[in-house]
Amino acid sequence: MPPGSCSPKMLRKSKNPTCRPAPERDTLEGVELTGLLVAMIVLLAAAAFGAYRKATDGKVRSVSGSINRLHVPGKITLLQFSSAFCAPCRATRAACAEVARTTPGVAHLDIDAESQLDTVRAMGIRRTPTVLIIAPSGEIVGRVEGALNLAQVRTAIGAVHA
């Protein structure tokens, strides 16, 4: 039997492959399986990324380097990089300012990262808020990314003495 010669009745009942309607590739009741697969992969990847961020944000990473400006000589400086469209920068600013106000020998500088792009590149600042912890000598001892609360700022300062 030549393909395409099936009657509607045969089309329903026949097991002859030439008599079946062409399967609609990739779709199931209008659902695009490729799109659904992409959605699932994106959600899994985003969940993994979010969990990683949640685990690492607010933790001090040790860095090496020194800076001869943007710090207060003789004090531990919390150098915060902020940006215009950054909600957690405000919370971090409040926490750093409070710690600087109540802890002798600690200063807080909050700068608009946009206005210091050369420093941003030199220090490898990728996002805001990022806080550099600078020893009284100007040596950079640590870097913290993400929103910080009071306890995290105090822990970060501990990196200087460690």
Partner: protein, 141 residues
């Protein structure tokens, strides 16, 4: 200042919308979401925020955290760009563009809803770094 749970609620709806956009390859749905982003970014009548204020907020306690509107508006504008690219892709037959744009929009919306991800914190500085790289090098010489 905004009740910071409002944008999280909106992001949760947006997440569902982009899953549906991908599942049905629907450019029209992406276009509708683009209109929602535009209304939220440029007017006081963001559909999802109205839903939140009318039906959700009264059932929750008083807001614990407030946030400034500028970061939220920035994220809505970035969302608008991706939703428009997605709609253009699907409606013009370039469905690969539609899938890619919807994928990025879904990732950002889901991260915002689930983790309070702040798009402006992540991409604004990177964009400034990249866009001014040429100028800075030229200026330094």
């Amino acid at each position: 200042m905004l009740d910071s749970r409002g944008p999280r609620f909106a992001a949760a709806i947006t997440t569902v919308v982009f899953i549906l956009v991908l599942a049905f390859g629907s450019g029209w749905l992406a276009l509708a979401q683009a209109a929602v982003f535009a209304l939220t970014a440029f007017t006081r009548y963001g559909p999802y925020s109205l839903l939140y204020k009318r039906f959700v907020a009264p059932r929750l306690g008083p807001p614990g955290q407030f946030e400034a509107p500028q970061p939220v508006r920035f994220a809505q504008i970035v969302g608008l760009v991706f939703a428009l690219l997605c709609a253009i892709g699907y409606l013009s037959g370039a469905s690969l563009l539609g899938v890619i744009a919807a994928g990025f929009a879904l990732a950002a919306a889901f991260l915002n809803a689930a983790f309070g991800f702040c798009l402006g914190c992540e991409v604004y500085l990177l964009a400034r770094r990249v866009l001014t790289r040429g100028q800075s090098t030229a200026g330094g010489q």
